[in-house]
Amino acid sequence: MLGRRLGLGLVALALVAGTALAAGPRAGLLVALGIGFGLVLEGLRFGFAGPWRAMIAERDARGLLAQLLAIGLTAALAFPLLAAAPGELQGAHAPVGLAMIGGAFIFGAAMQVVMGCGSGTLVNAGSGNAIGLLALAGFVAGSFLGTLHLGWWTGLGSLPVISAQSLAGAQGGLVLTLGALALVAALLVWRAEPGKRLPARRLFWAAALIAGLAVLNLVIAGQPWGIVYGLGLWGAKLAQAGGADLAANAFWAAPGNAARLEASVLTDVTSLTNIGLILGAFLVMRGRADPGAPVAPLAARGWAGVLIAGLVLGYSARLAFGCNVGAFFSGISTGSLHGWVWFAAAFAGSIWGLKLRPLILVPARRGVAA
């Protein structure tokens, strides 16, 4: 087992070094960060969709409290960094709007159907979950399709970008953010069942490690941790290769996006961390003595439902200006109001999604090939 783990570690190091040689040291560092995210998320079983389900269905607040801790720790470092280097670092700030709120609600529902959010879908695919892999294919297609209609959706109405910094300055914004996180944590503790209020030690470690990696992401990339943009870019490249003309589309005609469409995926920040994340989750799964049981097979309409739910995940994440990572985690930890609104809307959507899940994830009948 030790030999296998050493071998897996060497493979990871070789891929990081290979990326650095091919695309520069920043690209190598971002793949390494992505691997770190994958190792922590899968290795310490730190998730987003699962803890929300636990809070809704079992009034178990432990996982969600760990998420809030990770966000708070990240914010404590990200706010001063953003204030100190405004020309080099940027937050995950986006406007609150009708489509953003609706997108977050639908995302919350879809992530409970496929049992994985933005990061969770990548982790699930890398760790050998067939539902995660199929949902990821849908996610790629959906996040690309979302870019095609983003202008129409945002035209339905949105506020200007509002951040904690714009309301109260850098220091005051941090106090505001940490205070709001503490308030939500207190509400969760109050609502939780006795015995389901204190996160396990591994979740404290995971929260600290995720926060450390998220701050490094900000410092190295100049922007917070994100997932969705990279997946939409992969979809756009595939669509373009299939003959789609994206030059007339407002999103892909924007200079930055057009340049990324022509450049290698190894120059795109979120693509690099996404690739690393899948690899990190795979390494953890292969490094275990028992990689775990495969997911139970679904009926054909169950698999179709997963693909459609993945598509909806990607599309809605694009409208919501991010998923649980780009909007909820990075939005709140860098002061964006849209992160808080995303949290409320997606949590409400999750309640609905839990009711939909058994209707969509139809298991295969025993003895019948799915």
Partner: protein
């Protein structure tokens, strides 16, 4: 009783294979970036504005 087809190692390897295929296909189509023209290793302190795109971008 036959072994299940969709084991975790197989699915995980399939995910990695798809990602590797995407990178290779993209490199053939877009070319590899020039590592000597890549951005500074770390954005903080580089003096350069962030040039990546984020999910929160409009």
């Amino acid at each position: 009783m036959s072994a299940p087809l969709l084991t975790r190692p197989r699915i995980g390897l399939a995910a990695l294979t798809l990602v590797a295929a995407l990178i290779v296909w993209d490199a053939a189509r877009s070319g590899l970036p020039d590592p000597f023209r890549s951005p500074a290793p770390v954005a903080l302190g580089s003096g350069a504005a962030p040039e990546g795109a984020h999910c929160s971008a409009n």
